[in-house]
């Protein structure tokens, strides 16, 4: 895990890396000295205990994914016994046709397409709200802010009614369309654009004869890159983790994302021992890519979150 952490800077585009590193310099270095050494041992001790708490379920998952259903019930859960990881993985990917692969592809599609479009739309709307002065701008922004605070699950039930009336329920669109909307993204983009896009640059581009839309795609998007990465990550993880919306919208399991698919396996695992294995194996497979991404991209979250939190 530390190797991954250390290799981070290599994958970072210049600007964001420079900005985060710059911010980090302002943090105070840990104090040294004999009295502080004792303090530091206590601090590290506490942090290690907390780290164990956060890692235990994942460790258990790794161990359990190597066991047979009988082994899951019959052996100490934190210890390996009769590893059969490969068999279990084959089971995960072949059970019920290759439905798990389908769920994986669906999830990547929902989260990938949804997050890319949501980010682009949020950037455009945030830029408009920040840099074009028109009547009702303030009201529109407040409406978006209200959208941030409305519980997503309170929206899902009425959205089901609406989508049902135009026959969109139980289609890819039912999950994709809501995923393309990120009020929080608009909020972040507006704040960032206001501070980071200089009016002089826009004026200069206009004098050069660039069209307004071209200015947005050529100049503004580039300046907004750091916050766009954050918006994309938030939306991607938000959609990837979403359960309530697909649960409400979808009924054919070929359209399910992983979260919904795995819960159907989990609910069945009480009666069908095989499903216990596929649930655990499937959970492991789904956790790995995002956990790695989470660690590798950690500093992007931080960069964008500062924009949102500090300028409240």
């Amino acid at each position: 895990m530390r190797a991954v952490t250390r290799s981070r800077p290599a994958v970072l585009p210049g600007r964001a890396a420079g900005r985060s590193a710059g911010v980090r310099e302002t943090g105070t270095a840990g104090p040294a000295g004999p009295r502080n050494r004792a303090t530091r041992i206590v601090v590290v001790g506490v942090l290690v205990v907390v780290a164990i708490y956060f890692l235990v379920p994942v460790y258990w998952l790794i161990v359990a994914s190597t066991k047979s259903p009988a082994g899951i019930y019959g052996s100490q859960g934190f210890l390996f016994s009769n590893p059969m990881f490969a068999t279990n993985m084959v089971q995960v990917f072949t059970y019920d046709g290759d439905i798990y692969t389908r769920w994986l592809v669906n999830t990547v599609l929902y989260a990938g397409v949804g997050a890319v479009l949501a980010t682009l739309f949020a950037a455009a709307a945030g830029y408009v709200l920040a840099k074009y002065e028109f009547r009702g701008r303030r009201a529109l922004f407040n409406l978006v802010l209200a959208g941030v605070l409305v519980p997503a699950t309170a929206l899902a039930l009425p959205m089901y009614q609406l989508f049902a009336s135009v026959n969109l329920t139980n289609t890819y669109w039912a999950v994709l369309i809501p995923g393309m909307v990120s009020p929080f993204g608009v909020y972040l983009c507006r704040i960032y654009a206001e501070a980071a896009v200089p009016d002089t640059v826009l004026e200069a581009a206009r004098i050069d004869g660039s069209g307004e839309v071209r200015i947005f795609f050529r100049v503004v998007l580039r300046i907004l890159t750091p916050v766009l990465v954050t918006v994309f990550l938030f939306q991607f993880v938000g959609i990837w983790n979403n359960y309530f919306l697909p649960l409400v919208m979808l009924s054919s399991n070929s359209l399910y994302p992983i979260t919904l698919g795995l819960t159907t396996w989990q609910a069945g695992s009480i009666r069908v021992p095989e499903l216990l294995q596929t649930t655990i194996g499937g959970a492991l497979v789904s956790v790995i890519p995002l956990a790695v991404a989470m660690i590798v991209l950690q500093r992007f979250w931080q960069g964008g979150l500062t924009e949102g939190a500090v300028k409240q």
């Binding site: 952490t5 780290a51 409240q312």
Partner: protein
């Protein structure tokens, strides 16, 4: 202050995709829920077999929801849950953020990554994982505790709520910690050095300089946590498989969901969704005005 024509066209072109979708996914559902909550299905004839029609119902769905003991109990449950879980999580996140500041950069980034990792695990999958750690026979934790003479029932009538709270703490502490860390990093270094020069120790600087300065981050995390708590759904829904004490109206959200999809009462479900949104708004704004009232 009318915009030049080219700018007006660009503003519409660039703003339209988001605002059209926002209307579809946010405004329309809210209006639809409000409208549906004011209607009801009326059955006619003997035993209601003479057909049904939809009629205006005034506020009767709200009256019905607010007089349903189970529905009110679900609010009491998430309120109790929130009063305990939100402070525990935010305090833990704050303490961790401060402790990380005391470490060298390499170690702090290692721990930060570890604490943040659960945020990448979807809520339902986290619940599946913890569910296995709560189920006797599968859970190595229960068997270890059993060996030292303790036999906990994580899925019992009283315990299961706190088992759910544990899952939520596990999922979101690292995320909240990161928001706080971000703001800690933004504190100008000379401010801390000036305090040090005035003879303030680590604890004094933390308590009197840093803590007040991260207030916006704390407010943000608390508001998001309040909204999240009210929406509680995934964790109890997954644990239903293991615990008979999680009822069909365990949380407001589960109640509304079952009202819509099990009892097929869309109108009552709409009223319950509206109530949820109103309560969330009231609590968020209530909290915000509470913290903003204090002199700075």
């Amino acid at each position: 202050m009318a915009l030049p024509r080219a700018q007006r066209r660009a503003a519409i072109f660039l703003g339209a995709p988001f605002f059209v979708l926002f209307a579809v996914a946010f405004v329309a559902p809210i209006l639809d829920a409000l409208y549906n909550s004011l209607l009801k299905t009326q059955h006619s004839g003997y035993l209601g077999l003479g057909g049904s029609r939809i009629v205006f119902a005034g506020l009767s769905n709200y009256w019905l929801a607010l007089h349903e003991p189970e529905f009110l109990a679900s609010y009491g449950r998430v309120l109790l849950f929130g009063i305990v879980q939100v402070p525990v999580m935010i305090i833990l996140a704050t303490v961790l953020a401060f402790l990380l500041e005391m470490l060298s950069r390499r170690w702090s980034s290692f721990f930060r990554a570890t604490f943040f990792l659960p945020y990448g695990v979807p809520g339902v999958i986290a619940s599946i994982l913890w569910g296995f750690l709560y189920v006797p026979g599968v859970s190595p934790i229960i068997s270890l505790l059993h060996d030292v003479g303790i036999s906990p029932d994580f899925l019992g009538y009283h315990e299961v709520l706190w088992s759910i709270a544990n899952i939520v703490v596990w999922e979101f502490t690292g995320y909240n910690m990161l928001i706080i860390v971000a703001q800690l990093k933004a504190i100008p270094r000379d401010l801390i050095e000036a305090a040090r020069a005035d003879g303030a120790g680590t604890w004094k600087t933390n308590l009197h300089i840093r803590l007040p300065l991260i207030r916006p981050a704390l407010i943000l995390t608390v508001v998001f946590s309040i909204i999240g708590t009210l929406q509680l759904f995934n964790e109890p829904q997954v644990l239903i498989t293991y615990s008979p004490y999680i009822t069909s109206s365990y949380t407001p959200n589960i109640a509304a969901y079952n009202q819509a999809f099990t009892d097929n009462n869309v109108n009552l479900a709409s009223a319950e969704a509206v109530i949820l949104a109103v309560v969330a708004a009231a609590l968020s704004f209530g909290f915000l005005s509470l913290v903003n009232r204090r002199p700075r």
